[in-house]
Symmetry: C2
Subunit: 234 residues, 2 copies
């Protein structure tokens, strides 16, 4: 990297939540484009699609980060979601309302841990890839949630008390999946590295039927971009 | 228990954060008094005073809870606090500003996990023993933080979307330590079961010198209540 604005000393640090999926890979590329020095964070929270952590590692390697940390959360077997309780099946058809793949308070927990790390490294910017257009209706993906978390972050922390404004960036929140994909392609994101499926095979193939697969497939189709995902079914 | 209002079926469930310290024990007794069916939660977050988890167990046993869960958080060695990084010494004298025992975003993380559990069990009430009078100046113990978290909780969750109002109770927030102790004594709390010290000895004796010990000792003295704590120093 060259140019005065690219020198590490001139870059502001940001904590970027990287799940290993399509959206957060795009967000990481966007944070880079905005010249942030990116500190990636992923969560091992007992998710059935734990293979996404390997994808998170690939994505951070490919796009480059200052460091990538994985935090582990053991919820004490509270269950309550098809993603953290293997006795609840992942739905393969669209239904009404918030689906059972919703993990109670997940983004609140993730953003809180990201906030803690941001304070430790002196970052005042946090990036998250939530989206409220082509999404599963999770309450913690909506703009009003992000705004409320940002407000909380500025009251919760030493930085906030000292007058440092903490910002929570959700640059994809109002984009469709196809717009996200087109933006990522422009920025050089290799989506073959990412995993969206909630129940991938050991081999890495995606089920093609869960909500997350359906949103991903439809996004690539609408963007008229070749979907690099290996699906079990067509 | 007898009387129609005491029947479990008529009681509303609450999640109560129980650290093993003096404040949260008092809060648990208060939640009981308000006839909540209490689900206690504690956190194993790499704290140097991990012995407080044994105290949490004793307190929940003594006061009675529906269940007591311990959630584990591995922050990925981010450090940043004397409580989670043993290379940073616990201060033994009062200083200015927020002390190094502050754990970045700790109460945001704890309340988030409590919120997730509340959603799973259908509880709409969360109790936390924060205090903004005799405290160490931590930003996430102030009333404005609690209010902002409650607002967030109602946007973050399925319950909130469905119109169920989630409440975060912080009944000690404006009390002095001596008022808290007097209230606890009235409610039959046995403070000998609790641990406040940030750096207790293996034997269980408290250092008597850290901020938390100083606040506790002064609280018992001001309340004119015998302090049951075994201190190393006088």
């Amino acid at each position: 990297m060259t140019g005065v604005f690219h020198l590490p000393g001139n870059k502001r640090s940001a904590v970027v939540l990287v799940s290993g999926g399509l959206d957060s890979a795009t967000v990481l590329a966007l944070a880079h484009k905005q010249r942030f020095s990116c500190h990636a964070i992923s969560f091992d929270y007992g998710q059935r699609h734990r293979v996404e952590l390997e994808a998170a590692h690939r994505v951070t390697e490919a796009l480059g980060v200052v460091e990538h940390r994985v935090m582990t959360i053991d919820w004490g077997n509270i269950g309550g979601s098809a993603l953290t309780d293997t006795t609840i099946a992942v739905p393969e058809e669209s239904g009404n309302g918030i689906p059972v793949t919703y993990v109670p308070a997940r983004n609140t927990v993730f953003l809180s841990l990201a906030l803690g790390w941001a304070e430790v490294i002196g970052a005042r910017d946090i990036f998250i890839g939530v989206n409220a257009v082509d999404y599963s209706g999770y309450p913690d993906c909506r703009p009003e949630f992000i705004e409320a978390f940002e407000r909380l972050a500025n009251l919760a922390t030493k930085a906030g008390v000292e007058g440092v404004k903490i910002r929570v960036h959700a640059p994809l929140i109002r984009l469709s999946k196809s717009q996200i994909i087109r933006k990522g392609i422009e920025l050089g994101v290799d989506y073959s590295l990412t995993v969206s499926c909630y129940q991938p095979e050991q081999s890495g193939r995606a089920c093609g039927r869960c909500d997350s697969c359906r949103l991903r497939r439809a996004g690539f189709a609408a963007a008229r971009v070749q979907d690099p995902t290996r699906y079990v079914s067509c």
